[in-house]
């Protein structure tokens, strides 16, 4: 069994340098790699390109990196809920590449699966199509989209084992599985780190082969953006 466990967040992020392209899992603030983001802030790496569906809020998630102006370019499908983001974008400090959500997910999955390009109907006939090859299949028009290339992928899982096998929880799964193995180095933080053999081989969401480093995260805040409840 090939062990993927590293001692902690410092070891997990060793090798991250200025100017790198990073993938970060999560949808809104749900399922984000909180520990890795904190460490990126601590490392103060600059000029990052971040592939992440959203950009966090002002004082949490990727918003923490935006506050310190560590991000040069964001690749996302939706970047609301963030005043500092808006300010940097409008002032031209921050470059933003908006990508349809399904295309973003599939470009990660393509990178994971060694597929250099695929066709999708999303964005055909819109600004998103600019500079992209379009093509007809079975009477419908599609755009060609290429796999992402990234240096590090930061992933949050619920349970993981020493071999790097992962299980996600609820909708905190989202982009996390698609990013495993989609970058040169995949770093996973988990809430529960288990010995190999503790997870049923049949119930693993992501096999350890897609993971390079795994560590047990701490102090998860798991902030809720829209707490909606009904009364009993």
């Amino acid at each position: 069994m090939i062990k993927k466990v590293v001692s902690g967040v410092e070891a997990a992020l060793s090798g991250v340098t200025d100017g790198m392209t990073l993938m970060l899992g999560g949808f809104g603030l749900c399922g984000i790699p909180e520990n890795s983001i904190s460490q990126l802030v601590k490392l103060n790496v600059q000029g990052l390109t971040c592939i992440s569906n959203n950009a966090g809020v002002d004082n949490f998630g990727l918003g923490l990196l935006l506050q310190k102006k560590q991000i040069r370019k964001m690749i996302s499908s939706y970047v609301g809920e963030n005043d500092e983001f808006e300010r940097q974008m409008l002032s031209g400090e921050l470059e933003v590449e908006l990508t349809p959500q399904g295309t973003l997910a599939e470009k990660c999955r393509a990178a994971q699966a060694g597929i250099p390009a695929f066709f999708t109907p999303a964005g055909y006939g819109t600004e998103v199509a600019q500079g992209k090859e379009s093509r007809e299949f079975n009477g419908k028009m599609y755009l060609m989209e290429e796999a992402y290339k990234a240096d590090f992928a930061f992933v949050k899982a619920w349970k993981g084992d020493e071999a790097g096998n992962l299980v996600f929880k609820g909708t905190a799964r989202n982009f996390n599985p698609c990013m495993c193995g989609a970058a040169k180095v995949t770093v996973v933080e988990v809430e529960e780190l288990l010995p190999a053999g503790a997870l049923d081989p049949n119930e693993i969401h992501i096999p350890g082969i897609f993971v390079n480093r795994i560590f047990k995260g701490t102090h998860y805040e798991k902030r809720i953006e829209q707490r909606t409840v009904r009364s009993k």
Binding site: N53, G102, T103, T120, T126, G170, T171, C178, K222
Partner: protein, 217 residues
């Protein structure tokens, strides 16, 4: 004239037994409240859940279980969680039967614009471009006119497009319309709204064939 709940109520009648439905943020979200109890419908949220239930009871909310509007939710029996690539496999692969979403503008050829106003902060298209490019069945829920009183049903969209020739039906506060090769076909009037008022509020080509019935809600 309908309010937002009225629009949602009318759209709920378009939801058929056995449909998997994706609801956009805003008025579309309200549709779930009005779907008949005696039909089987499952709601999909593109962040990775199928079989969404009502909001959780106070104190039972789980940060790891949200919808695409980032609201805490619950799941019903038969629900499933999945990753984003699988979620859009459902959408792109036409497994979702009906998409209901809002719009800033709809053109008489079915083009839709709902993600970007040049010069204003652009938040992004989220999953809207995937949804409109893929769904067989798209219903737009919106006000007939914008805050300035200008029609949102146009000969062609002035704003950057979200998708081309994809909208099939539009339900507004004033009317139900179908997108046809000839233009917006008026199907129903909102209670108390005249054909004349709808004509005046529709900049795109409006087709009125015979008597137009009032909506039944």
């Amino acid at each position: 004239m309908l309010d937002k709940n009225g629009i949602a109520k009318r759209i709920a009648k378009e939801v058929k037994d056995g449909y998997y439905v994706n609801l956009g943020i805003g008025i579309p979200t309200l549709v779930a409240n009005f779907v008949r109890d005696d039909i089987a419908v499952e709601f999909q949220s593109e962040n990775g859940v199928l079989g969404m239930g009502p909001f959780p009871f106070e104190g039972e909310e789980d940060a790891d279980v949200i919808n695409a509007g980032k609201q805490t939710i619950t799941t019903l029996d038969g629900a499933s969680f999945f990753d984003s690539a699988t979620s859009f496999a459902m959408i792109r692969g036409k497994h979702v039967d009906l998409t209901i979403l809002g719009a800033m503008e709809v053109a008489e050829n079915g083009d839709i614009a709902n993600w970007k106003i040049p010069g204003k902060m652009v938040k992004g298209m989220g999953g809207a471009m995937d949804l409109v490019a893929s769904a067989e069945n798209i219903i737009v829920a919106m006000m007939h006119t914008n805050r300035a009183g200008a029609s949102k049903l146009l000969p062609q969209c002035s704003l950057p497009l979200t998708g081309v020739g994809c909208v099939k039906k539009i339900v507004t506060n004033m009317a139900v319309l179908e997108v046809t090769a000839e233009g917006f076909l008026l199907l129903e009037r909102a209670p108390g709204v005249s054909v004349e008022e709808i004509k005046n509020a529709t900049a795109g080509k409006l087709i009125v064939n015979g008597d137009i019935p009032e909506m039944k809600l």
